[in-house]
């Protein structure tokens, strides 16, 4: 691991607009991260519990129809714009594909500075995107495609330190926003299609020095190592590419983990801990203090990387300290945070799922219909597709409605067959025969594919849903104004729904498809809604795969634009 402290931005291109504004930057403290002011959006999902919920309510169900664009900003870049606009005291930060980082005056839209990461030209960008910044003190952090964490001065964009987390040439890259807690900045690595060995790393947020590193695949002799045959643990994937949640009472961080590699489960016979799981990591030491594997020996590329939402929910008259996860495997999981680990509560499908034949009521372990499990040279048709019931776009939870809002996809299945593959460092290591694999639609796909579902976390029942002809890649924002915001469809709309009923209250057509994480904030008593519109990555890939099987979709132009809305 290389670590470098920089006096100037060594690989930096900074557009700077100096003013007294910069002097007003309010340092981000641990106390502020634990209890963020309602007017700010300091981290990926707003709060450590990953609710994606804001207590702001000046914009609400009664006036949202008057919501108008106030300012926009074109990033000048193509591909997937997914980052939440992070806001601290009037400063806004966004990131883009290829690791540009832009700072704005959140009210006026004036650009304050722009950092452009100099990326190696031979770095493979299988998923050209970035999901935003972390904040601590006067620093702003970005995890980069060439697998560095770079820390910049929030006021000027000057590079303060940068740390190499892993070697990009070996297939490692990063797209997630750092989880910043207790003076540490935590990141995970992508590369589940390149034969990596996944891990979460914590860096000292002030200096960039490594604090701990915890692999998601145990080494021989460590607990769980018996679930990997031979040397498969060395190249078994299990990436972590979405920001974790943090329980401030217990000091445990919760991370979702991705697919095992290669994709076909028969290449790594066993459960493959801790693939497709949630793991609880001690903030101080990185020690694994608990886990729950949603499904064992993954063979469907069902990354379960979304961190669970920390929600206390009711079951049988008791309040449980819960974890809630709408899985890519199509099941909605309710788990419990226990002193000695993670307990299973219940689970049920929220989209058509034909792989699991039962769920053990005590452990949550599924049994499989083996005819639905692809293997090397063994084709299988399964639902939902490898993009799952919900891929990475985060769900949201409103404590006012007690509803969990899931950006779902239904009626898209996949036929997949594996092929032999041998490991070569830094090269693709999927082992999927793409010439003979394809998506398959159910009959109901002509009615809808995309869906926004609302589930009551206390009753475990679906309360309402909105459906869309398009597939849906829209992250969700819930607010105390009883609004739910989401884009995600290929008709380029960004929409607001009534949080209690799902009624469509407002929509705005944008430049591209909205796959960015929406946020909301206030400056000088005015509430804003902000989101990036910039179609790309897997939303575009799924669209291309749907076109291959004859589903006609509108053209979605690429190119990122930041949209900021407010009431007139």
């Amino acid at each position: 691991m290389k670590q470098r402290v920089c006096s100037v931005g060594l690989f930096t291109f900074v557009l700077a607009a100096f003013s007294t504004f910069a002097a007003q930057y309010q340092p981000v403290t641990d106390a502020r991260l634990v209890n963020p002011e309602p007017e700010n959006w300091l981290m990926y999902r707003g709060t450590y519990d990953s609710h994606g919920y804001s207590p702001l309510k000046r914009i609400n169900t009664r006036n949202v129809k008057r919501l108008k664009p106030l300012w926009t900003y074109s990033t000048g870049l193509r591909e997937g714009h997914q980052a939440p606009p992070i806001v601290n005291g009037g400063f806004m930060f966004i990131t883009t594909p290829h690791n540009h980082l832009l700072a704005f005056d959140a009210a006026s839209g004036d650009l304050i500075w722009r950092y452009i990461r100099e990326l190696p030209e031979d770095q493979v960008q299988m998923h050209p995107t970035n999901r935003g910044v972390g904040l601590y003190g006067d620093l702003v952090f970005m995890a980069t495609a060439d697998c560095y964490v770079v820390a910049l001065d929030a006021k000027t964009g000057a590079v303060v330190w940068e740390t190499e987390v892993e070697d990009y040439a070996a297939g490692y890259y990063m797209t997630l926003a750092s989880l910043v807690a207790g003076g540490k900045g935590m990141v995970g690595v992508s590369g589940g299609e390149f034969g990596i060995r996944g891990f979460v790393m914590a860096l000292d947020a002030t200096t960039g020095e490594e604090a701990w590193k915890t692999y998601t695949i145990p080494a021989p002799g460590e607990p769980g190592s018996e679930s990997w045959p031979g040397d498969s643990w060395k190249t078994g994937g299990v990436p972590v590419w979405i920001t974790g949640s943090f329980d401030t009472e217990t000091g445990l961080t919760y991370w979702g983990t991705g697919n095992g590699g290669p994709w076909m489960g028969d290449t790594r016979d066993g459960d493959n801990l801790y693939a497709t799981s949630v793991i609880a990591l001690d903030l101080t030491t990185g020690e694994i203090r608990g886990h729950h594997q949603y499904h064992w020996n993954d063979s469907w590329d069902w990354d379960e990387v979304s961190a669970p939402l920390l929600i206390d929910f009711e079951r049988a008259g008791r309040t449980l300290r819960g974890l809630v996860h709408p899985g890519r495997n199509g099941y909605l999981w309710f788990l419990e945070r226990l002193d000695n680990g993670i307990g299973f509560v219940d689970a049920q499908p929220y989209v058509k799922q034909d792989v699991f034949t039962s769920i053990d009521p005590d452990t949550g372990r599924p049994t499989y219909d083996e005819t639905k499990k692809p293997g090397t040279g063994k084709g299988a048709l399964f639902c939902p597709s490898h993009w799952g019931g919900k891929d990475w776009p985060p769900a949201a939870f409103s404590p006012r409605t007690r509803l969990l809002y899931i950006p779902a996809n239904d009626n898209v299945c996949a036929y997949m067959i594996g092929e032999e593959v041998s490991y070569r460092e830094g090269r693709e290591f999927m082992g999927t025969d793409w010439q003979n694999s394809n998506l398959v639609l159910t009959e109901e796909a002509s009615d809808y594919i995309g869906e926004l579902q609302a589930w009551n976390v206390d009753t475990g029942e679906k309360v309402w849903s909105r459906t869309f002809a398009s597939h849906n890649w829209g992250p969700v924002l819930a607010t105390a104004g009883d609004l739910v915001f989401m884009g995600g469809t290929n008709d380029r709309y960004f929409r607001a729904f009534h949080a209690k009923t799902g009624r469509l209250l407002w929509e705005q057509r944008t430049n591209s498809g909205v796959i960015g994480v929406p946020t909301t904030y206030e400056v000088n008593g005015r509430q804003y809604i902000a989101v990036l519109s910039g179609w790309g990555v897997d939303a575009a890939r799924e669209q291309a795969s749907l076109a291959e099987i004859g589903k006609v979709n509108p053209v979605v132009p690429q190119g990122g634009v930041l949209w900021v809305f407010g009431l007139e």
Partner: protein, 178 residues
């Protein structure tokens, strides 16, 4: 707020992408006269004889005269192919050595290794996002998301080996993003 935006360029500005143009000979692009060698497998590092190239694609790197193999970057990796010389477009033939073609293995979409090869359709296929390239027509895009052809490397054969005869036909890998 009344502000005037000015442009400052931080010290050590280096807007060119870093990486493949580094000084080390392993990362240098293939040079004229380099010999093509097996990139992987049992014969890794040994010179490729024209007789080795059949229907299957062979991954190759270039080896300098001092024995250094330029395997330090995916951007140096080649797909060495044997195809029907008469079926090649005129442009394609300019890069070929008889029936042999050397095509960059770096996809012009997001830079993945283009590892798929269908000899019956003469298409190279990227596993990451499914782009297809028509080898006989100067590796043009048959199916996206890639929009630019793969780079061809001019080669020649002689003395039982295949040598680099010139520079890549175009930029290797994706376009720069800024």
């Amino acid at each position: 707020m009344n502000r005037r935006e000015i442009i400052t360029v931080a010290g050590g500005l280096a807007l060119g992408a870093r990486g493949a143009h580094g000084a080390s000979p392993e990362r240098m692009k293939p040079q004229i006269g380099d010999v093509l060698v097996h990139a992987f497998g049992d014969r890794v590092g040994s010179a490729i004889s024209p007789a080795d190239v059949k229907d299957d694609r062979i991954f190759a790197f270039a080896m300098a005269s001092d024995g250094v193999i330029r395997d330090g970057s995916l951007h140096n990796q080649l797909s060495l192919l044997r195809v029907d010389e008469m079926a090649m477009s005129e442009k394609t033939r300019r890069y070929a050595a008889g029936p042999f073609l050397a095509v960059s293995a770096a996809c012009t979409h997001t830079g993945c290794e283009v590892s798929g090869w269908q000899p019956d359709t003469h298409e190279l296929i990227c596993p990451c996002h499914g782009s297809r390239f028509a080898v006989l027509d100067a590796a043009r895009v048959v199916l996206g998301p890639a929009t630019k052809p793969l780079a061809l490397l001019p080669i020649e054969q002689g003395d039982g080996v295949i040598r680099v005869a010139g520079k890549f036909s175009r930029r290797v890998g994706p376009e720069p993003t800024y």
